[in-house]
Subunit: 196 residues, 2 copies
């Protein structure tokens, strides 16, 4: 395609990034080589460094460089509450509310049978071990309100209730600050059923 094999190889390697097609990859490669070679070397180094040092927290499964992450080590947090989220980004969203002071378990994914992602792939056994350690009393399911997130919450909820734990789910309802006229009907229907 181009006059340089290593340029073609770079374009192919960039295409492995999610959401990057051949046009975007070509544009990225062109930009880096023409305008930002320092950025290219910086990214090369950051990729190697992260791949070498980022692993999963032994307790909550999120990304960390230590054996146990700083959130799990924080003694101020209520160890009786365990909030289950899909990804570190979701955990970060819950943290920003400042409305939760318990602990987390990060699935690093969701059940998705169509994509071949089953209980083993998202470490459900690790979650069950953690939730039944005798300290945790309430598990709050904060997976996304998508079909897959709901299915994941359902499977986890069933398993943990059968082990005698209190399991709750984030409330469904109308987003704060929104006008009913613009909220989808399914959300309004759920908010009606869950009214309190």
């Amino acid at each position: 395609m181009s006059n340089a094999n290593s340029l073609d190889a770079l374009i192919q390697a960039l295409r492995r990034l999610p959401g990057v097609g051949v046009k975007s990859a070509s544009r990225m490669a062109f930009h880096l080589l023409q305008h930002d070679r320092e950025g290219a070397l910086h990214l090369s180094q950051a990729l190697r460094q992260a791949t070498d040092s980022v692993r999963h927290c032994a307790l909550c499964h999120t990304f960390t460089e230590a054996e146990v992450c700083v959130t799990c080590l924080d003694p101020q947090r209520d160890a009786a509450k365990l909030c289950v989220v899909e990804t570190p980004a979701d955990q970060s969203a819950v943290e920003r509310t400042a409305a939760y002071k318990g602990r987390y378990f990060v699935l690093m994914g969701k059940l998705s049978p169509l994509d071949g992602i089953g209980p083993k792939d998202i470490g459900l056994q690790k979650l069950f071990d953690r939730a039944t350690d005798g300290v945790v009393q309430e598990v709050i399911l904060a997976t996304n309100f998508t079909a897959e997130g709901e299915a994941t919450a359902h499977v986890i909820g069933e398993a943990l209730r059968s082990r005698g734990l209190q399991v709750t789910r984030l409330a469904r309802g109308v987003p704060v600050g929104s006008e009913l006229e613009y909220v989808d009907l399914g959300t309004i229907a759920h908010a009606l059923v869950d009214r309190r």
Copy 2:
């Protein structure tokens, strides 16, 4: 932001890619570390390799790993014709029409006073030296039909005509305001035939 410094560093490094904001960068980093560490190492290696070995062709200025690129070395090509394009992607679009058998000069950019990109940044002197080597008889301006591409073509055309060269421009078959990379090949082929 996260529990891992090298993860944050990776997200920052990914943001230097064009069109990648903090959400996309986070998603990319998550994907690579959770699902494709081999891809991350592969990309790291490809970035270093390309940065080390890709340079500019001594004759046409495009990306190459050799002193002179394969297109410039091709003896079948008509050395009396020189087609000036902005980027390797534009050159590739002209090539795919199979309607042009001359040589190329790749500006690797365009004049853009607002962005501080002047004649030196896009190697116009190198183009003038090349075009006045005594072999080139016709210079075909195939810069994009955008405001900046037209301005670039105007500046180059004026300079080369004053040096006694025949200068033509792709015909206005190419829709005004569009970029060559995205134009259908038939339109580009017609514009080549109708050049003036």
